[in-house]
Symmetry: C2
Subunit: 313 residues, 2 copies
């Protein structure tokens, strides 16, 4: 028994059912041309060129005792924050710092637990301690925006830009990344220019969309979010860890390009400007799996996780 | 530095700021009559009668090694499932069974890992093994429905009924509970009548609204969800735990009324038909905390967690 049917169990049940009927399953390509596909069927029919490899110059590895968290950066939306986080990673700023906050249904956050104490704070050498906010940017029609037709509570238009959930406002001419599960942003104080990437957070709960355009988002977790989302929740206000002994150490934060090729996680992400992604969104809207008795007929932007996989698998 | 400002840190900063200005803070009641209140201020101004105690006949305690999970039941929406889960609890059906599924950004699920094996399955004595679905119910205007004005991607109308997030469709005359974080439902197989409460799940990720009207929801976690949401994610398909040694044992699942009063968690929940709740929703829409530089101006139903607290605190 299960709610939902995203997994292999349903897929294999469906295949078993098809074989029981004595029907030969159509080739993947033929099936993909039909209409009532499931999510699993759409992905099975994807072509190699529907996937793009992560760029090592644009990928971070957050190394924890629990494992590696792979983060894809979004320089199109937050060029200065991405450059600064890369500079921080390259000066090994985060190594030995810690996860300082684990708030249930909200965020996991890392940085320097002693940041407010000049005597103890980790020194930033080449990177900038703070930056002007990059809450949004000008619309750019040269970059494909996959728009969802189903509406959104918070923004006039939502969809995907190169794998990232994003919103757009044609009236103001602005676009911005949105706070779906797994998005990575820069913490800040009360002013817009008080963040910069030295303290960062990942969404581990229901999408806190009220944070949109209040924080600079600059990436998303592509793999390994369970190493963050399953951490013990901290008892302090806002989920901050108050006992230094409970801080969760960061072994290192590295740019993939700075890691020997043999130690990299070769990941690829489904292209959100592909026909396969359009079909995937449609499959998420229709939920054609046998398990679904009431088809939702609509889909919300944060309910379309962009598929990622180990290269070629 | 932080995203968001729900906690005491911001509240105390604000108070410090007010005192620095030499301004006497208005009494809670006066402040609550003004418009630009924060969430913390609205709650501070709540009156005793804005809270209702959990009914022990309508409250479950799921006891795990990590602690107690308190679940409020929703007989208005799922009377038969609530009665059956209570019957299962009273025959101690769940004691010694286990959490069998932990799927990241989705659900934690418990039940009998051997349910499919007649030789090993736990026997259901007085309760029913399955029930007809209670996906939705007829609208009932005698029961207050706190409607949100901000729209919804999935339903014509959403809001709250007696503490539970719910949707309503005036055209069909139906209403139903919706899959926000912490909602509790009955797993099922491919047919509508294949669930019944012997295998249950809790939402621990972004609201999987495509499950609305596909599963019977019958409660919500009021306290202790961190004992579920921080469990290690399972590696099996759909997050099922494949190695029996990795199952997470349930010490017991009890109706609060069956627990000695001294061992109960005396919780109360903010009344969603109160003026205070109306102000709380407005505060979540406006986000008047100093930290918010861009006011969202809108709020989505699953971004309004209904406040709960230990009685009288």
């Amino acid at each position: 028994m299960k709610p939902g049917s995203d997994g292999r169990r349903i897929a294999s049940t469906l295949m078993a059912f098809i074989f029981l009927l004595g029907v030969q399953p159509a080739r993947a390509e033929e099936r993909s041309a039909q209409k009532a596909l499931t999510v699993a069927e759409v992905l099975a029919a994807a072509k190699a060129e529907d996937w793009r490899a992560l760029d090592p110059e644009n990928t971070l590895y957050l190394e924890l005792a629990g494992g590696r968290v792979v983060i894809e950066l979004a320089p199109f939306f937050a060029p200065n924050h991405v450059a600064n986080v890369k500079a921080l990673a390259r000066e090994k700023y985060f190594d030995g710092l810690a996860i300082v906050r684990v708030q249930d249904n909200y965020v996991v956050q890392w940085g320097d637990a002693n940041a407010e104490d000049p005597a103890k704070a980790r020194r930033i050498v080449s990177a900038k301690p703070t930056l002007p906010a990059e809450f949004d940017r000008a619309c750019d029609d040269a970059v494909p925006f996959f728009a969802l037709p189903d509406g959104d509570v918070y923004a006039p238009e939502v969809g995907f830009v190169d794998g990232f959930p994003a919103a757009r406002d044609r009236n103001s001419g602005r676009m911005w990344l949105i706070h779906c599960y797994g998005m990575v942003g820069a913490g800040r104080g009360d002013t817009a220019d008080s963040g910069g990437g030295a303290e960062d957070y990942v969404v581990i709960g229901h999408s806190p969309r009220h944070l949109d355009r209040n924080c600079t988002l600059f990436g998303r977790v592509v793999q390994g979010i369970e190493h963050l989302s399953s951490l013990p929740r901290a008892a302090g206000p806002m989920g901050f860890i108050e006992d230094p002994a409970q801080l969760i150490p960061i072994r290192s934060l590295r740019l993939a390009a700075d890691v020997p090729p043999a130690e990299r996680t070769e990941f690829e992400v489904l292209r959100t400007d592909s026909e396969t992604f359009r079909r995937l969104v449609q499959a998420r809207r229709e939920r054609n799996e046998a398990w679904f008795l009431n088809k939702p007929g609509r889909v919300e932007v944060c309910n379309v996780p962009v598929p990622a996989r180990i290269k070629g698998r």
